[in-house]
Assembly symmetry: none
Homo-oligomer: 414 residues x 2
């Protein structure tokens, strides 16, 4: 099956946004055994959009579009597909009702222009959008498939997983593709690449290396005639990768560092508190992205001055003696946060977020203190990057180190 992706929106041609939708979908298609031959970006121009769609429809079996399904005049995907297929757009009353209810739920008056989002052509089946007002389209005609999805990545990813992927799986027969992603933290991409080099030349299962915000991800994908065979191939690959990467691997597939830490804390019946300086609330915010965070997370104390630190219970003398960006204060923050919020485990994060150095230490110097009552630990890390990157690296590092400490407690002799 030959596939093609078309990303629609003038903002792509103006360089205002980078087309992450195309790379997301491109990463999904190998898991279905579908070959992707072309990706293109086209603006909100009806002539050029129709032309690009026509070429795709001729040369590809599967066409995936994102964008241009909004309510405004420059959203032209529906019109262009209708023109390309020589069909007529009509408002679907049931679809209009769903969109109207959406707005009513939010207590917002619906603009008249939103009605156009309820338009379909005879050969298109509307696809429910759980995250927004724009329905998608599923078209199967003359041996070709076209799926139109909304442009906002949150809406698109959800529609892909819940609606499009199941439809595509049904359509594809024969070999089974099974994949598993192992997520690592703490090693640069080049180093990981060298470590896993012997597996990179394997044709089946294949191994892909992806640099992500929360570390380097390793994706194994196996093609086989049955689920069991594919799973066995993945299992052997995983065993090899785990023996190479050891404790750098912190999770798989849908795991996030927050969900992995949350699961460990719940299993052990432990509660968590954080005290943050340089990460400014990002650790608390990352932890509370998990739907069940209230089961283990007590709260966070964000200090953006030495006065706030002492108000939260960190000894002023300690700050004076050792400076705020050091292991002593990180450890004291972890303890004070734990005690102040009555939690079992505390994390304290301090360091130099920049721009510029602090107490003679360069931006990117981070200290993570952990306090579990009996067990205490502080680690120092140096990261490159701007303020935004440093905050994220330090926040992920704190969760990664906490995971290691929680696991180490189970080891004999800990």
């Amino acid at each position: 099956m030959k596939a093609e992706i078309i990303s629609i929106g003038t903002e792509l041609l103006l360089g205002e946004i980078t087309d992450t939708n195309a790379s997301y979908l491109a990463g999904q298609l190998p898991l279905l055994g579908i070959d992707l031959y072309w990706i293109s970006q086209v603006g909100d121009n009806r002539t050029r959009l129709t032309e690009v769609l026509e070429r795709a429809w001729q040369r590809s079996d599967l066409v995936l579009t994102t964008g241009g399904l909004g309510p405004t005049e420059d959203d032209l995907t529906r019109e262009a597909i209708a023109e390309m297929l020589g069909e007529e757009l009509r408002i679907d009353p049931a679809l209009e009702q769903i969109i109207r209810e959406r707005f009513a739920q939010r207590g917002i008056e619906m603009a008249i222009s939103n009605i156009k989002q309820a338009a379909v052509i005879p050969s298109a089946e509307a696809i429910y959008n759980d995250r927004g007002t724009a329905p998608g389209w599923y078209i199967e005609k003359d041996g070709h498939i076209l799926m139109a999805m909304p442009g906002p990545p949150g809406e698109m990813h959800h529609m892909w997983r819940m609606e499009i992927l199941p439809r595509l799986r049904q359509r594809i027969s024969g070999s089974v593709i099974f994949s598993k992603t192992l997520k690592t933290f703490g090693l640069p991409e080049g180093t990981v690449g060298e470590m896993v080099a012997p597996l990179l030349s394997s044709a089946n299962p294949t191994l892909g290396i992806y640099a992500k915000a929360d570390g380097i991800h390793l994706r194994l994908a196996a093609k086989a005639n049955g689920q069991k065979q594919a799973e066995e191939m993945i299992g052997r690959g995983e065993t090899r990768l785990r023996s190479i990467m050891c404790e750098s691997i912190w999770g798989t597939d849908d795991d996030t560092l927050a969900s992995v830490v949350g699961r460990l804390l719940k299993e052990k019946g432990l509660s968590l508190a954080v005290m943050e300086y340089c990460t400014g609330g990002l650790v608390a915010s990352t932890i509370t992205d998990a739907p069940d965070a209230s089961a283990f997370f007590k709260g966070g104390l964000i200090a953006y001055s030495n006065e706030a630190l002492t108000a939260y219970g960190v000894d002023a003398g300690l700050i004076n003696d050792h400076g705020v960006a050091g292991p002593e204060v990180a450890q004291a923050m972890a303890e004070a946060g734990r005690l102040r919020l009555g939690a079992d485990v505390g994390i304290g994060i301090t360091g130099v977020i920049g721009p510029g150095e602090l107490e003679g230490k360069p931006a990117g110097t981070m200290y993570i203190g952990m306090d579990g009552g009996r067990s205490k630990k502080t680690v120092k890390r140096n990261y490159p990057g701007d303020r935004f990157q440093l905050k994220h690296r330090a926040a992920f590092a704190a969760l990664f180190e906490l995971r290691k400490m929680l696991i180490a407690q189970d080891q004999p002799g800990a």
Copy 2:
């Protein structure tokens, strides 16, 4: 001048990397007054690459390619361009010498395959690559221009700035493009679209509408013979948009809600503290993304239980009487945060983050309390979306409402 970008590499079609080269170049072209009509990604396949190049050469005045200039067998850009133009590749001895010296400088032995990087066709001028071994190509023929650049972003950006941009500036005379973005919050995209509809049909300046995480952005772009004329056109468009959108506009261009709020607080010499329940630290983290946050931000108190709220100074009786997700607690949180951290202004955020309802209120019900000592205010908002979206909408709403309150204090009668 009609331009087209072609990004070359199978890794793009496998979703292993996102094409940031295209968005970088797309963002550069408007500043030269060059219209970009098409972007496409194509793999390391000679037939398809040649076909994509041929179409681009026919329909575009300027073709920019990135990638496929490396030394390995699957780097085919040189071969495909030669085929497209019907010219022959020959090794340029001077170029070969430069590449050999490059390796010698780095103390690495040159692989034989690198010699192919010294190949050129008669109509191509080699472009020096300061950051790598692959020279670029500059071709001007039959009224078309093609520039081939290496794929690694660091090499490409540098070659663009140092070599390609000066050549393009020389080739382009006359018009100047000037743009300005006005950022709004609080109104859905469809409503904004209808409000500004009269301006959408304008050909110069053009108006674009972009839905972003922090609201709907409106971008005016004017084309004129001089900077002054372009700025005047933008100025008139901005005046009209401001009279239509009024207080929905919170910033322009590089402003973020955090930077706008920070600037207002610094101008007024006020400090800020936040107490967060449902946003779980995201407001504090958003505020501390600004490099100068320590000048006005005292800190944040993240409560993820009623016990933490009362520990932070919120009256337990108030929570019992009114429930935690209500205006009374939002207001009390704002005041307690302000007093606890000795700040001039406090924000308190509570509500229902989901999944599921709380105290009979559906997920997405948010209360934002503000306390500036004399002035107090609470707003209620209902947002759609999952936990992640709700956190972001509530956090941006809190900063947007705080901005409004800070500005209202300056109004007569406030």
